[in-house]
């Protein structure tokens, strides 16, 4: 089935750019949060363990 598309208006494109940037910040924040919590949970001297 062929779908009909309409190009985005300038306003819609601007709103979408805003949403995308917000999403990027949220995802980046999550990466940092999970990293920091991992370090906290592992405790100090993480790098000193024998392999």
């Amino acid at each position: 089935m062929k779908q009909e598309f309409t190009p985005l208006t300038q306003e819609q494109a601007k709103a979408r750019r805003g949403r995308n940037i917000a999403l990027a910040f949220v995802l980046g924040g999550l990466v940092i949060l999970f990293f920091v919590v991992t370090i906290v949970r592992l405790g100090g001297h993480v790098a000193d363990r024998p392999f």
Binding site: Q3, E4, F5, T6, P7, L8, T9, E11, Q12, K14, A15, R16, G18, R19, N20, A22, L30, L33, F34, V36, V37, V40
Partner: protein
């Protein structure tokens, strides 16, 4: 939403901004959830690493926001009719209802899973229960059916301090349940005061709030009855050793004020033009009342006031 082109049927009149998605989370309710969860966390008998505390609060806040988005998805039809809510993003046509549903479901899953992985699964389980209770039990099952909607639904709003406590200890105990009891018993008089002021709005939307179903007189009586239950409950944190003397004095003072104001509200004649204004005043005071009690518990712990 993120396709290169939008299909015709999906093209909103006014495109959804980031602010519209933030509005779906009910940020003002969220701030109260963060505050009460923080109090539960601080009162717990052991310390929590500040990073874990921030992570837990974030997850609890997003979970609360997710349940708000699900509520706005389900209630878009009645939100459009009520003056208080018709400016929300879905009735305004800025966000499609199904987008709000997806947004709410994804945030629910993400907040529960994150709280479980980062903090503990007891807290995550409680958060899941809270979201389910608010979105399904309150919004879908109770809100349009019974005047007891906010009495039972209040349990969802009362759980955040318990989740905060469980984030630290991994368990549920009587002390945080006393905070649950306070918010639970506070909710009915708080919302019924608002309903007295906005009963026309609720009637138009067909929501069976107490002033609509049972009348103004019955609502005034119920506000007094719940106030009589609430005020004694505010003393429960004292024997459970999470409150000190300043809290006890404040709870007594504010408790008397709460009872006096509820009686004064109940004394206003049914047809009085002053009723909406007085209802809003009691509604505003009730917010201050709850905030002051929880702030007292928080400050006592920060300053180091010994619990009785």
């Amino acid at each position: 939403m993120a396709d290169v082109m939008l299909t015709k049927a999906h093209t909103a009149e006014a495109p959804a901004s980031v602010g519209d998605f933030v509005a779906l989370l009910k940020p003002r309710v969220m701030s109260l959830v963060i505050f009460t969860a923080l109090v539960g966390m601080v009162l717990a008998p052991q310390p929590i690493h500040p990073v874990l505390a921030v992570a837990a609060l974030l997850c609890i806040a997003v979970g609360a926001g997710a349940s708000a988005a699900l509520n706005m998805w389900y209630d878009a039809d009645i939100d459009a009719v009520m003056a208080r809510t018709k400016g929300r993003p879905i009735p305004q046509g800025r966000i499609a209802a199904e987008d709000a549903l997806g947004f709410g479901l994804i945030l629910s899953a993400a907040s529960i899973a994150s709280l479980g992985v980062l903090v503990n699964w007891m807290a995550a389980g409680l958060l899941a229960f809270t979201i389910f209770f608010y979105a399904v039990i309150y919004t879908m099952a109770l809100k349009r059916r019974t005047a007891q909607n906010i009495v039972i639904g209040g349990a969802a709003g009362a759980l955040p301090p318990v989740i905060g406590w469980a984030s630290v200890t991994g368990s549920i105990e009587l002390a945080p349940l006393s905070l649950f009891a306070i918010i639970f018993l506070w909710t009915p008089p708080h919302f019924w005061a608002l309903a007295l002021a906005k009963s026309d709005d609720y009637a138009r939307a067909g929501i069976p709030m107490l002033p609509v179903t049972d009348g103004v007189r019955a609502t005034q009586d119920q506000i007094v009855r719940y106030s009589l239950l609430l005020v004694p409950a505010t003393f429960l944190p004292v024997p459970l050793h999470i409150a000190g003397l300043p809290y006890l004095l404040l709870a007594a003072l504010l408790g008397v004020a709460f009872l006096v104001l509820s009686l004064r509200l109940a004394a206003i004649p049914e047809k009085s033009p002053a009723l909406p204004r007085e209802g809003m005043k009691f509604f505003a005071f009730s917010i201050l009342y709850l905030f002051a009690l929880f702030a007292a518990l928080l400050i006592e712990r920060i300053v180091g006031v010994p619990a009785l």
